[in-house]
Amino acid sequence: MTDERAIDVLLETVSDAVWIVAPSLEVVRANAPFAALAIDMREPWWRDLCARVLAGRGVAAPARIGERTYAITANPLQENAGAVFVARELTETRVERDDLLELAVTRIFATDKPLAATLVDVLEFLCESDGWDYGALRIGSDAAPPAAPIATPIATPIATWTRPDANVDLAEAPATVSLRAADRLVGVLELRPSRGGHPRALERAGGSLARLIERHRLLEAIERKGQEWSLTFDAIELPIFITRVDGTIARVNRAARDLAGAEFESVVGRPIAIDAREPWRTLADVVAAVRDSRTPCTAQLTDNTRTWDVSASWFRSASDDDERVIIVMRDVTTVIELQESVRRGEQLAALGELVAGVAHEVRNPIFGMGLTVDALQSMLPDDDDFNELAGVLRTWLDRLNRLMESLLEYGRTWTLELRGGTLGDVLPPVIDGCRQIAAQSSVAIETAIEPDLAMLLDPSRLTHAFENLITNAIQHSSAGDRVVISARALRDGGRDVIECAVRDEGPGFSPSDLPRVFQPFFTRRRGGTGLGLSIVQRIVDEHGGTVSAGNAEGGGAVVTMRFPAWREWSTTRTNEPTTS
């Protein structure tokens, strides 16, 4: 199998669509499932996604392509080499096939010893068992080839060795063996038989060497050519550990390193039971179980903040014939979140359509009622009782009308226009706009907003969300209370996020209400539509963020949103030249 082929087979083994995009946005490598995806490269979401990933940020986002929904994981490659994308259909789980991918990856990368070391290892073994003098071996590529080698190639297509002349007494003069790979001289081997050396041993050693060289060249080529694939491997979001059967970590990818919270050097060679906590404790058990049964094993484990599906398989390393266990961890917290988000999105879309349809239909009757009251009032302008009741009727109509407008707002399908910006651009105008309402209720607004919180945002939509949250907070406040709006950057699970919170000092959420506050029509406020927080959730969803409601420690409600930070924006901002 050639190197090219190896990588292709690897790519085609996967059921997920995998593709690599160059910084030019051109797809430079892809597998068959990618072709089946039929992504329209002109679509805004795709360009958005590319922009975000090429800006240096890993992204996991649901995407609707054609009739299906996919979880797209995208990670930048090192040194601005582009980005790798993996699209997994959310509707099915394909653990077994994934395992194939990961095993294949291991077989290639497990054999990573340098040629010289491998040769020394093997020759040492050969010499010991066959009686050759190990100390007499010289390996190097700078030696001149023999003038007229006697060609007796041993069947091997890539590397050949040249056997010494049969008439030469090896005991008198050391034999020089040229090692050739294709047409290139890759090394010269000097051999001197030790006492009682087996006559066939040299031949066997040469054959083994030739095979080793072939394999090494293959690996070298794969590693050289597959530098991109190596980056891809690192770019795979799933943490992958390869351990020896005693549980010593032999190899990890970047995600695994992040999970272990350590640098590559400090993880490799350590036992998988890095400490006594999860997930490490269970992982050690998994390794033991696989080693003992030599059959694949799956488990689910959690460290209370995250949940992983773990699959582990046993295999024999191609490099040193040693046993290995490969562990692939899938962070299903994200998948579950994505699935929920997609489900919610679909529900919202369906509900939104229904609601917008109803709202339209209801508009006309409301309009008609309003007109009728107006007409009646124009005919009875002097009847005070009638006018008072007409006023009441109008109040009810106004309320119905507000509800309709909220419903339409909630149900409307927006074309989101995300662009890079900072919360500092969006928040102050909203807050200023709310100060008047706050002042009417004698509520103070305080802010604690870090500068340069860059994210991808749709200013008008985000403004709407903050308006809802802040007016909501004011409405639940008493005179003299404060509403605090804070925003800060932080790192969470290896990602840069922006956390933004709106807190009040009102009665807070009742604990039994908490699970339902984002549901449409859920309200405890008389005259409220129960759509404010639902709309907020929808907008936050659109921005790839999460929103949660809770109660502050000192009392009062707090709604917290988290958005993905956008690196490119902040980089361009902070890297602006300060001197000319």
């Binding site: 339209h360 508009r363 006309n364 409301i366 309009f367 008609g368 309003g370 007109l371 009728t372 107006d374 007409a375 124009s378 005919m379 009308n401």
Partner: protein, 131 residues
């Protein structure tokens, strides 16, 4: 007030497929002293427009089921037949594109439902005073 400023009675055509909306508007505008005709569908409005020049037409954009924009046709018809007739379109769902289109065709006002009668009447009176 209206009676004082009008030297002759303005004739208004109200077009809406909701008979009850027509009823309320008719009563209201008659109360203001206008002569009011009403039509409930596009062709009825067109037949009336073929027969008489109105001073003002107040038409709903949608006169049939979902997605109709018959009001636009009325705007075109009015301007083909009677250049001096003013047109107000009312809509519960008008998009900016439709609004633009109706102005292109010569509508004088495009009002989003719901609107209070007073607002409609104010627009109507302003248009009639201009003409």
């Amino acid at each position: 007030m209206v009676h004082d400023t009008n030297e002759r009675t303005h004739h208004i055509l109200i077009v809406d497929d909701e008979e009850l909306i027509v009823l309320a508007m008719r009563k209201y505008f008659e109360g203001l002293g206008y002569r009011v005709d009403a039509a409930h569908e596009l062709e009825e409005a067109q037949a009336l427009l073929a027969n008489r020049a109105y001073d003002l037409v107040i038409a709903d954009l949608r006169l049939t089921g979902i997605g109709g924009v018959e009001g636009l046709q009325i705007v075109s018809d009015v301007h083909q037949r009677h250049a001096h007739t003013r047109v107000i379109l009312l809509s519960a769902f008008g998009t900016p594109e439709i609004e633009r289109e109706s102005y292109n065709r010569g509508a004088d006002a495009f009002l989003h439902k719901p609107k209070a009668m007073m607002e409609i009447a104010n627009v109507a009176m302003n248009l009639l005073e201009q003409s």
